[in-house]
């Protein structure tokens, strides 16, 4: 991963809510994949959004899918304090 610009998890949460306004608020621990907030097609844009918000570059060929399951996991993996 290479850092380009810092950000917050809020941009990721906002993107999910923008796609699924009926599911707002999105809990920090809800499984985004199991609850169909993210599917394989939207996952690509989702990764892009995380990259932009976190300032990191993500190699989708080597990711651990569990790092994307919840906002809490995403924050831990891509938004280090």
């Amino acid at each position: 991963m290479t850092s380009t610009a810092p950000g917050t998890i809020d941009a990721v949460r906002d993107w999910i809510v923008g796609k699924h306004p009926e599911r707002s608020p999105v809990d920090q621990h809800i499984d985004l994949i199991e609850n169909r907030l993210i599917d394989s097609l939207s996952f690509v844009e989702f990764v892009f959004v995380i990259e932009k918000a976190s300032g990191t570059s993500i190699d989708v060929d080597t990711v651990d899918i569990d790092d994307f399951r919840t906002l809490s996991a995403i924050e831990k993996a891509f938004f280090p304090a």
């Binding site: 394989s40 097609l41 996952f43 844009e45 892009f48 989708v60 060929d61 651990d64 899918i65």
Partner: protein
């Protein structure tokens, strides 16, 4: 040989969302060759793109993977002889197909109105394949 089938449906509205997204990412879903094949005289062929995306998802389904993300660029849906779609695998997608012991992968795509559908049929060989 044991057959394996994958099917997927993509609404054309998903393609429209992708093309007007604030985070342009079509190039992460389709290879340069596929993007070239997905253009017509009036610009992007939305039905063609939806069919290609459905075909990729259907290919991924026959791989029967766990804890893997879809290797979008490693599954290319190209134009074969006679204009029929054909699947070309590379990188991680190719490795996953080997691990699944998949032989030939055949694909058929159709679209009508707001949807595109793709069906993939593959065969599992009886013995593990070499890399």
């Amino acid at each position: 040989m044991i057959p394996r089938v994958g099917v997927d449906l993509v609404p054309l509205s998903r393609v429209e969302d992708i093309l007007r997204s604030a985070t342009p990412h079509l190039h992460r879903l389709l290879s340069d060759t596929e993007i070239s094949l997905s253009r017509n005289d009036s610009g992007f062929d939305h039905a063609g793109i939806a069919g290609r995306l459905a075909a990729k998802e259907a290919v991924f389904k026959v791989l029967h993977t766990e804890r893997e993300t879809l290797p979008w660029l490693g599954v290319e849906i190209l134009r074969g002889r006679g204009g029929w779609p054909e699947v070309q695998l590379s990188g991680r997608a190719r490795r996953l197909a080997h691990q699944a012991r998949l032989d030939t992968i055949a694909v058929s795509i159709t679209h009508d109105g707001p949807f595109a559908v793709a069906v993939v049929v593959a065969h599992i060989t009886s013995a593990p394949q070499g890399r």
